[in-house]
Amino acid sequence: MEILVLGLNHKTAPVEIREKLSIPAHKTQELLRTLEARRIFKERVLLSTCNRTEIYGVGDGGDEAILRTKEFLSEYAHLKISDFEDKLYVLRQPDSVEHLFSVASGLDSMVIGETEIIGQVKDAYFSAHENRQTGKVLNTLFQRSFKVAKNLRSQTEIGSGKVGVASVAVDLSEKIFSKLKGARVMVLGTGEMSTQVAKAMVSRGAYPLIVSSRHFDRAETLAASLGGEAVSYDDYESRIKDVDVILASTLAPKVLIHKEQVKRWMKIRREKPLFLIDIAVPRNIEAETGDLDDVYLYNIDDLQGIAEKNMAQRKSQLDECFRLVRGQTGHFMSWLVKEFSVSNEASL
């Protein structure tokens, strides 16, 4: 009896192969039953995300089970085995155990330390469990993997800081205004990056947006898609009193917001803190504006710099994380050996 994992991910396979082998959630149940009907493994879990497709199995078949799994994947993806075999990894215990612990902890993700993966691993496990595809080994293994992921986050800084420009901007806003719920965001210009940041802020509960652009129709479209109101570019200053965050990303080739102008705004706002995010290149907001009391100015390089620093911080934690994962793999393997030697003795 051994634990195996067969799979491919963003490191081993290009998107053309990954998309063919990707398994949508609504098909998981059916495919698990097909694997069961073909007696491929005694226990099985299918994990499929946008970056990986993996089959975790427990059985005695060894090479035979591996070959039949490859045939199953080939059939499902309508690909020849030779088209994806070299991109497929096959790991046997204890490597398969260590791999699952790393995946669940976000150590194997494209964005190291991301947390979405733990939810996806849980969904994959619960789906298999509900369909009675798991037994003692995979139940224990997956539940252990959730604990390992949790422990890694509390014992290391693998999840510290945000690593995307939009989430860094949201994080900063929440360090100024507590919660974005109640904060009002004004978007000047309708560029892709400002849309992304605005979307992230709305998803965290920011009040309906105020969108202003020289192209009023574009402002209306963005306001309609994210919820909010469009304001003509000539009128945006009249709304400054109501806003807490200004996202500037117009294509104007010169500075649009000057220090003296913001100084006036601060008086009208009774010195309520103002967060200015200048994502435009060339910049839309005069750099010296950030010197004013209670005005916090960040440009695209500042946000990018924080994201990169946080990513470097996460990478610096990898050695410690893998050491902890190896330790946990050792504990799990001890349990597995003990459990099955007792079971075998009992069956004799």
Partner: protein
Amino acid sequence: MVPENWLWIHIALLVTGLMCLLMAVISALLYLLQSAQIKSKHLGKIFLKLPSLDALDKLHFYYLSAGVIFFTSGLVSGIFWARDLKESSQILKDPMAILSFITCVIYWVILSLRASTLSRGQKIAAGTVLAFFLLVVTLMSSSFAPSGFHKGF
């Protein structure tokens, strides 16, 4: 009321007020520290550990309000105590009492500006720090005062 009772009320109110004003200055300093972190764009571990500016501002405001009210009540109870001792005229000769009234007025100005939202954020936090510095000088003044009620306290 016997003068001794006024003395205990005076001490209790002032100690409570000073504790609140100490908490207010701590939250003001944390506000200034967090604000400086965000402005510097070099976000260290302190940035992650400290609460948001909004939360620190609210905390600062609550402690400042409570501190100013208790501190003022403490001063008023001190006046009653002096009156019962028939020593009211001595108040204006006591350096600590005079400095306390000045500090109290400054605290009321800061509190009024913040409560009316005429000013807030960094300026009010800095104001609280300066007022607390004056409060410390006030408390220490009894040690150096040549005369007055509080001499030696």
